[in-house]
Structures are given as C-alpha cells and as structure tokens.
C-alpha cells in the first residue's frame, strides 16, 4: 500500500510537466503542479506514520485528507473522495487482499462518479478508472493471478485514457471549451492512469 502511494508520487513527480502541458491545452495548466504538490505532502505524511496492513484504512484516510487540503483544484476533492471511499471500504480489515483492493477501488470510483456527476465518456478520470477496475475485478473473478489482473487493469486504464482524446469534455474546466476540447487527452484521465500504473507496479509484483 505504501509502495503504491510512493510510486504514484514518483510518477506524478516525473510527469508533472506533462500533466501540466495537457492541462494547459484544455484546462488551467495546474493539474501537474497541483498533484505534485499534493503527493509530495502525502509522501511526507506517510513517512511520518507507521505503516502496516492493520492501518491501511487510516493511511488511505491520511492520503485523502492531505490531498483534499493541498491540491486545491478539482483534483483535490476528487482524488480525496476516491481515497476516502477506499478508506471506508477497507475500514476494519485486518488484512487487505487483492479482492479487497479491487472492491475498495470500485467503491472509490463510484464515489468519484457521484461527486463529479461524471460518467464514462465525459472526458474525465472516470474514463480511465472505470475500465481499469472492471478489468481488475473481471480478471480476478476469472481466477487470474494478481500480477495478470493488475496488468489487465493497467492496460485497460491506458486504453481508457487514450480514448479521452477524441471526446468532448462535459465536466470541469475543460467543458467550457466544448468542441474545442476534442483532440486533447484529458489530464485527469492521465493522472488516473498513473495511479493504476503505480498500483499495478506495487500490487502486481
């Protein structure tokens, strides 16, 4: 769990400029900077607390609250909501197995959809997260190994992300652009892909 979050932080850091570039095309050019600032704070906070499976929910909540207070843009409450819902889903679990993670992610994605009033096809992070979780759950149900399941999730996430390019944005700042948002990859969908990629690296190995 800690490895996942740390890896996510690293990926965000590495792709900060890229995310910001994407955002400058259809948003307010701050997604990379905002997420990077948020994840730096998260890594700092996580470093302070003592990890362990029994404390997964607490850690997730820490991640959520830190993002909520440091990101600033819409990504703050949205990622915050995702982690908060995951914290709720794992609360009380002594041990969190792959199925629990899948269920938690599912709960997180549902919460993000509710918070952002977004569905697939709206050109948002949901376009990445929803197919990824579906692939993960499907693969696990089919008896796939956790490595395979996460690989499937990662690939579905990447496809979902790429699929946002031709879409018209219906939510968030990009929706002000309407048709002009077509042809640009959604920054939120991109950071969400990094989240799944980090998870695949941490849980799938």
């Amino acid at each position: 769990m800690v490895a996942w979050i740390q890896e996510f932080g690293v990926l965000i850091g590495k792709n900060k400029e890229y995310l910001t570039d994407l955002d400058s095309a259809i948003g307010d050019a701050d997604h990379g900077i905002n997420m990077d600032r948020g994840m730096r704070s998260v890594i700092e906070k996580i470093g302070e607390s003592v990890g362990g499976d029994g404390e997964v929910a607490t850690l997730l909540k820490t991640v959520a609250m830190t993002l909520i207070s440091t990101v600033g843009g819409a990504a703050g409450p949205l990622y915050g909501t995702l982690f908060l819902a995951m914290a709720k889903a794992t609360s009380g679990h002594e041990h969190v197995d792959q199925r629990d993670w899948a269920a938690a992610l599912q709960a997180g994605v549902d919460a993000v959809k509710a918070r952002g009033r977004a569905e697939r096809g709206d050109k948002t992070m949901v376009d990445t997260l929803e197919p990824a979780v579906a692939a993960l759950v499907g693969a696990l149900n089919d008896g796939a190994s956790s490595a395979d399941a996460w690989r499937a999730a990662e690939s579905a996430a990447e496809k979902g992300m790429a699929a946002t390019v031709p879409l018209v944005a219906h939510r968030g700042r990009a929706s002000y652009l309407g048709e002009r948002s077509v042809g640009h990859q959604d920054p939120g969908a991109t950071s969400a892909w990094l989240l799944i990629k980090a998870a695949a690296g941490a849980f799938g190995s």
Binding site: G72, P77, R115
Partner: protein
C-alpha cells in the same frame, strides 16, 4: 416572523443561521465576508473558507478548511454554504461528507451568486429566517441588481405580473418566495399608498426594521419608492434596501403592493406609519440633541486661555491623528469612585448558578435581569451627575447629549432584546452587549450620517453599563477624547481604553519613556513634551493631535480640522477594517502568508492573544512563572501553565522562550552574585547552562505539553554555536529522561527548537547557527541595544539606538539570509515588528513571522495585507544602503505614498 406583530424586534437570542463563504481565493472569501458582515450584525456567524494553506500556491479550495469553517459558523439553525466555481463546489460537497451525520442535515450548499447571495443571506439570517428561507433569499440575491440595471421593469419582471401591477418591479421575495403566483382571479391588483414621513429621523433603523417585519407577515410583494428623492423602488422586505432610500423627515414615500395579500399588507404599512412606526411619542431628544461625536466642538465659551488655532509642539511618540475634546485625567477621575455595584453580589451567585446549571450556560434570568437593571440605574446616576456638572459649567447644549444618553438607557429596543436573551439563560453582560452591538450595527449600516453618528452615544452608554456589570470602577476616562496629562506614566497609560482615548498629549517627558512605548503598543496616537501650557487647556476644548509630527492644535479651525481629517482619512477606516479582520490570516498582496503572532507574558496575555485572533504566540516570556513564585516552580507547576496557555491557543502554535533573567531581575530562591553590568552578564541561556537543573525542569515541562500541543522552544541570549549545542544536549537529555519514565514526548525533530537573535554575534554567526536550529526570532530591542552599546532606559543616550537604523537591519538581513539558505524560517518578536513602517522592510528582508503585543496584531496584519513581497524586497535592498534610521523611515514613507 410568523406572528404578525409590528412591535417586536427580530427574534433576538434564538439561533441565527450561520454562513460560510468558500472561494479559491482567501482574499475574495474574506472580502465577501466583510461585505456580508456589514449587513449581518454581530449575531450572524459568517466565516471565510478561502484559499489553500500553501504559501507558494494560495489559490485553491480545501474541503478540510470548509469543515472547520462550518464548525466555526455552527448554529442550531443550520449553516448556509456559498461557494465560487469549480473545485469550490466539489470541496464543499466533500466537506459535507466529512461532517458528522448529525450536522450534515443542517448544512445547505447554496448555488446562489457568491457576493449578492452572501449579502442577501446575511440579511435574512439576521432577521431570523430559517435555513431554507435564507437559501432562497440568497438565490434571489441577483434580483436587486437585475432590476437596477434593466431599462424598464418589464425586462425583469414577468410580463403578466407587471401588467397587473403597473410599474411594480419584481423583487426578491422573502415571505412569498414559496407561495404560488397569484392567479388572475385573486385580488392581486397593485395598490399604492403615499406616506408622508413625519419621523424626525426619517425611516431610520427602528422604523425601517418594523416596516420590514410588518411586510414579512403578508403573502405580498411590497415595494417602497422615495418620491422626494426619486430613489427606488426597492423591496420593502429588505432592511438594507429600505435604508438605501435615505428617507428623511418630510419625504413622500410611495408604497405599492401586489400578490394575494396585497391589500392587507398595504393597510398594515399605512397603519404602522400612522402609529409613528411604533416609535415612542415621548420627547425625542434626537430632534435637537447635538451629536456626541469626537469632532464636534464643545463649549468653548468656558474661558480659553489659549488662542484658538494655536499649535503646541513636542515629540511624536505614537503615530496617527486624533481629534476630540481635551480630557484631563484628574478632573475626569473626580467623578470616579463608585464602588462595587448592587449587582456584584448577584454576580457571584450567578456564577454558582452557572456551575450548577445542567445545561452549562443557564444563568438565572431573575438575578441577571436585576443585575442589568441595577447597572442601568447606576449608569443613569452617573450620566445625571455628568450632566449636572456640564450644566453648571454653562453648557446647556452639551447637557442635552446626556439627555439622549438617558433616553437610550430606557429604550425598549435595547431593553427588550436584552430581556429576552436574559430569559433564555444568558448573562446580563452578554445580553446587554449583544443587544447594544446589534443596534449599533443596524445604525451603522444606515446611509443617514446623522443616525450613524449616534452610534457613538449608543456604544459609549453601552460600555458604561457593561463596566458596571463587570463590577469595574468607572474607567478614568469615560467620554471619548484626547487625554491630557502632565507626564505619560505607564500606570496611567495602562488604564487607557483605546476605544475611549483617541489620543494622548503630555506636557512633559521625552519620546523614549516607557509610557510612550506602552501608548504606542495600545495604538493610541500620542505626543509628549508639549509644554506646561497644555495643562491649562480647559476640559472639553477641541484638540487636534498629530502623533507623527508631535503637535497639538488647540480649538482648530474647520479648515485645519479638514486638512487633518484628510491626512487621517485612510487611518480610521483602516483601523476599523483591521480590527474586523484581526482573526483572518495576514496574506500579502502577492499571496505570501505572514504569521502575525502575539507576545505574551501571562495567561491573561495568552487569552487576549487568542481572543484578538493572533495566529499564535510568537514569544511566550516564561519569566512570569518564576518572578511571581516564592520557590523555584516545579516541573508540574510549569507544565500546568504551559498546558493552559496551549489550550487557550487551541491548536495555534506557541513559542516558549526559556527563562530569560539576568542579575538585574533577582529571583528570591536563586542566589546569585551581583554583576556590575547585568545586561552583559550571565543572563538568558547563559544562566540556563550554568544551572542545568533549572533549565532541565523547564525543558521537561515544555516537552510534556509539546506531546499534545504545537509548542516550539526558543533559547534567549544566544551568542555562540557552542551554547546552542549544549542547550540541544539538554533538550535530548530531557526527552530521553521522560521517554524512559514512560511519558509521551514529541519525537526528535517534531518539536521545533529555535534561538533568539538579539546579540550581534548571533546575527553575524547565523550561518553556523542555522544548521543547528529550526528557526530564528529576532529580538530587536536587545539587538538594537547591543548593536549600539546603548542602555535604552538611559535618556541621555537612548536616542542613539533606533531599530530602524541600517546597522540593525543589516544584522537582521544577515540572519534572514542564513535562515532561508538553510531552509529555516525567521521571525521578529521585538518592538520593531509592531511598527507598521517596519513591516514592509522586515517582509522584504525575508521575515515570515511577526510577533507583537496583542493590541498591535490587527494593525500589523493590516500592514501585511497592504504589502507585496516583491516590492518589499526592493525596498529592503534600498534601505540597507541608507545612512540613518531617519533616512530609512523617509524612504519607507516615500515608498508608501508611491504605492498607496
């Protein structure tokens, strides 16, 4: 608002809806809150939840901040949340999720326009509307502007509606917003009635409030138009809108009504007007009474020995311009000695009622009401004797002011709400002050200058009653004005209430006295050394004091007065604004947050700091614990004090400075050899290292509290790195001792440890020191004294030492550069931090925390808000090259006039 009554004020005491304003920008949120507070009155909690707590990136929204703000605005009646766009909405929704189930149901997220919505909601909340009504008022917030900006009513109102009602405008309905539109069959024809206003003060606060309430009882849309001035029409259900009509005596007002109960509403308004809007028909002192304003010339016929317009020159010791009647301390004190009041015994019994009360806040209404009445009677006696004194002096016009005061003491509009609050279990003092504040706010928002000025009378009389309720002797200076004394002694200054004493002039004394420092700390403009002539100025003579130039003009002409008021123009507004925003964070124009903390040397100071809205305590002088004790205070005793202070600050940081005494402050239980030169002797950390037993006990006490509260530790009088290393070893020793005793202590590194920069050696060696500590705090008083080798209490040399001298500023610059290079922060906790002129220079040097005496917090925060870091840095670079303190001050002033 449900029971049709034209008599009662808004439902005082019942909980009012709270309001939270969420924005990406802290400044926008604060600005909106500021606007809304103008109409809300003190009873409505309005809290700003703007921006991110990220110095480099202040724009954004924070759901956790929204949660805290909802808690701060909490009311049983619920909280309305307004927000700007985008993530503000998401953050508000996330905040809702984070709130407890119980509270969530009483919080409403409202998509109304931010500014108009907040103002409309504030008015509705203040009138006691339930949460849903407040929300619908906010939603209708734009209607006023739309009506104003549209060429004709048909563009804003429904066409059918305007046809029915002639020239009637659609308004933000309050009472009928949920009601159906009248069907054509109903009696909905707009009826008009013309009123001729005979009230001497026009439709001022009370009549207007009654009118608004009356209208609110009917399912009708009522508008008012001032036919005389051509203002309006405006909705009659909005107090603030009615006030905009500026209805004066003799004006003709057109009332129009539409809707199902139009006729009844119209009749009720006509009846109300016929009944004089419920105003007492008793002699209205307000008709002829002069206004007790600071600026109004008082009796000048009482035998002036000094020519009007004469200017006395001395030294300015506390900047600012004040005008007002001369108040001799002695003669004001003559009417003083009223002892404890009839209510005092009752006050004690009410305290036991408080502790016995099952609800925790129930005062006995009978006792409290009796106390309030007693306090009012006592005040009335005081006023009557003042009046007699003034009459005896032949100032019959002035005596009428006191008639107005006496009338206020009998005013049902003040007493009624106070009574109902007392009946609800609130204390007499609380009820009285709320009632006074509510009325003052209501008057203040009026466009009628005459009425606004009467707020002075109201507040003055309110404060006198409050003083009686507190069992205090009457303040030495009761009437607002400029206090005239022979010499400025600290004891006298300590008794000054800045709300009453607008300025201080002293006949004798120099600029460096302790009294002068104290009066500056209180923020009262003052001049000293004005000459003996000052003492022969008759009581009440109008004075114009310039605390910057060090002059007092006696009985100034209107033109002199005018130019002074012009000079001072930004100042009163600024002060007022600063006070209102004292609890808000201080952020520079370009978005850098500067912590403005308070210095404290007692538990009371800490309480004051918390109450005034300081961002924390930047310097806790722990000496008071040691000086007041008979024996060395134990670890447990110290812990109790630190804990109490940390709890008082409720999560805001507290910087605890270890014991800072020298041979000049002997402790009875600590025998020390006398020193010829205590300022250069074994003091501060030097003593602590010489007596590690003493320091260890203090460190252990601090660490125990730091486990639960954000305490920081600071060592005074540090000169070398070796001292810091020894001190750090003692901290570690204390930590491991406690740890092995099983006591919770903060981890190494989680409690910040810093040092004072007050010895030039420390500033010069700051690069080395910065490696060992977490922060610096510059003690400018000692740093200045040690830099110039001057005893600042020695008048013959004191003028050499000025903290604004580039010599001192360069030392601060060295320390700041060293701190920033090492990733540490630097603050200033000396006198200099409280000097608004120094604030931009210090910010420019890299200082990010200013710790000042509690009364200076508001002004310093305001000075921060007027600064921007970039131009401060340029200013700082310029002043470091200047030759003198005077040149620095002149450059700062030039800079201000350029940018301001």
């Amino acid at each position: 608002m449900d029971s049709p009554s034209t008599e009662t004020a808004p439902p005082e005491g019942s909980p009012l809806v709270g309001i939270v304003v969420v924005s990406h920008s802290a400044r926008l949120a604060e600005g909106v809150v500021e606007l809304a507070r103008q109409v809300a009155g003190p009873g409505v909690a309005i809290v700003a939840a703007g921006g991110l707590d990220q110095p480099d990136h202040p724009l954004g929204t924070d759901a956790a901040l929204v949660v805290r703000s909802v808690a701060a605005a909490w009311s049983e009646a619920g909280v309305l949340v307004l927000m700007d766009l985008g993530s503000a909405v998401l953050s508000a929704e996330t905040a809702l999720e984070l709130l407890g189930e119980e509270r969530r149901s009483r919080v409403l997220l409202c998509p109304a326009p931010l500014v108009e919505g907040a103002v409309a909601a504030a008015v509705a909340a203040r009138l006691g509307a339930p949460l849903e009504k407040v929300a619908s008022e906010a939603m209708a917030g734009l209607t006023g502007k739309q009506a104003q900006l549209s060429p004709g009513p048909e563009q804003t109102a429904g066409a059918a509606e305007s046809e029915r009602s002639g020239a009637l405008q659609e308004t933000g309905e309050f009472a009928s917003s949920e009601g159906p539109e009248p069907s054509p069959g109903e009696s909905s024809v707009a009826d008009g009635a013309e009123l001729s206003i005979t009230e001497p003060l026009g439709l001022h606060a009370r009549p207007a409030a009654r009118l608004v309430e009356t209208v609110g009882n009917f399912d009708a849309t009522v508008t008012l138009e001032n036919l005389t001035s051509g203002k309006g029409p405006v909705p009659a259900n909005s107090l603030s809108m009615v006030a905009t009509l500026g209805v004066r005596q003799g004006d003709r007002v057109l009332v129009r009504a539409s809707g199902p109960q139009a006729a009844q509403a119209l009749q009720a308004v006509v009846d109300l007007a016929a009944a004089g809007f419920g105003e007492p028909s008793a002699p209205r002192p307000t008709e002829s009474a002069p206004v007790a304003s600071d600026t109004r010339p008082l009796a000048t016929s009482a035998g002036l020995t000094i020519a009007p317009g004469e200017v006395l020159r001395g030294f300015g010791v506390s900047p600012g311009i004040a005008s007002g009647p001369a108040r001799h301390l002695q003669s004001a004190a003559a009417g003083l000695s009223r002892d404890a009041l009839p209510g005092l015994a009752a006050s004690q019994s009410s305290k036991s009622a408080l502790t016995d009360s099952p609800t925790g806040h129930g005062f006995d209404p009978e006792v409290e009401w009796a106390r309030l009445q007693a306090a009012i009677e006592s005040t009335a006696l005081d006023v009557a004797s003042e009046r007699k004194r003034v009459l005896a002096a032949g100032a019959s016009d002035e005596a009428q002011i006191f008639d107005a005061h006496l009338l206020l003491l009998r005013d049902e509009a003040l007493l009624g709400p106070a009574r109902s609050m007392v009946d609800q279990g609130r204390s007499a003092l609380d009820a009285w002050e709320s009632s006074v504040a509510t009325m003052a706010e209501r008057w203040r928002e009026l466009s009628d200058a005459y009425q606004r000025e009467r707020v002075h009378d109201l507040e003055s009389i309110g404060a006198q009653v409050s003083a009686h309720l507190r069992g205090e002797r009457r303040a030495a200076v009761l009437e607002p004005g400029i206090v005239v004394v022979a010499e400025l002694t600290p004891a006298e200054v300590a008794g000054f209430d800045p709300a009453v004493v607008s300025g201080v002039g002293a006949a004798f004394g120099g600029p460096t006295s302790h009294g002068a420092i104290l009066v500056r700390a209180l923020g009262i403009p003052a001049a000293v050394g004005l000459g003996e002539q000052l003492l022969s100025v008759p009581e009440g003579t109008p004075l114009l004091l310039d605390g910057s130039a060090g002059t007092v003009c006696i009985d100034p002409s209107p033109s002199e007065h005018g130019s002074a008021v012009e000079r001072a123009q930004h100042r009163p507004d600024g002060d007022d604004r600063a006070r209102r925003m004292a609890a808000e964070p201080a952020v520079t124009i370009d978005g850098t947050r500067i912590e403005v903390a308070a210095n404290a040397g007692s538990i009371e100071d800490a309480e004051r700091a918390a109450a005034i809205g300081a961002d924390g305590i930047g310097l806790l002088r722990t000496e008071f614990i040691f000086m007041d004790a008979e024996a060395m205070p134990t670890e447990a005793q110290q812990e109790a004090v630190y804990r109490r202070i940390a709890e008082t600050l409720a999560g805001r940081p507290v910087v605890v400075r270890t014991l800072d005494v020298g041979a000049d402050k002997p402790l009875p239980y600590l025998s020390r050899p006398p020193e010829a030169n205590p300022q250069l002797g074994q003091r501060g950390l030097r003593l602590g290292l010489a007596r590690p037993d003493l320091l260890l006990a203090q460190l252990r006490a601090v660490l125990r509290v730091a486990a639960d509260h954000p305490l920081k530790l600071m060592f005074p009088m540090v000169a070398t790195e070796a001292e810091v290393a020894s001190a750090m070893e003692l901290v570690e020793q204390a930590r491991s001792e406690l740890h092995s005793e099983g006591v919770a202590v903060p981890d190494k590194g989680s409690m910040q440890v810093g040092v004072m920069i007050e010895v030039p050696a420390a500033a010069l060696g700051a690069r080395t020191l910065a490696k060992s500590v977490d922060f610096f705090s510059v003690g400018t008083n000692d740093l200045t004294q040690y830099t110039f080798a001057v005893d600042r209490d020695l008048a013959s040399v004191a003028s050499l030492a000025d903290a604004m001298h580039p010599a001192v500023l360069r030392l601060i610059d060295l320390a700041a550069r060293a701190a920033l290079a090492a990733g540490r922060w630097i603050g200033v906790c000396g006198e200099l931090a409280a000097d608004p002129a120094a604030v931009p220079v210090l910010i420019g040097l890299g200082v990010r925390e200013l710790s000042v005496s509690p009364p200076s917090v508001a002004a310093v925060k305001q000075a921060v808000r007027e600064a921007d870091v970039t131009s401060c840095a340029e200013l700082a670079a310029r002043v470091l090259e200047l030759p003198s303190a005077a040149a620095v001050r002149a450059e700062v002033a030039r800079n201000r006039s350029r940018t301001g």
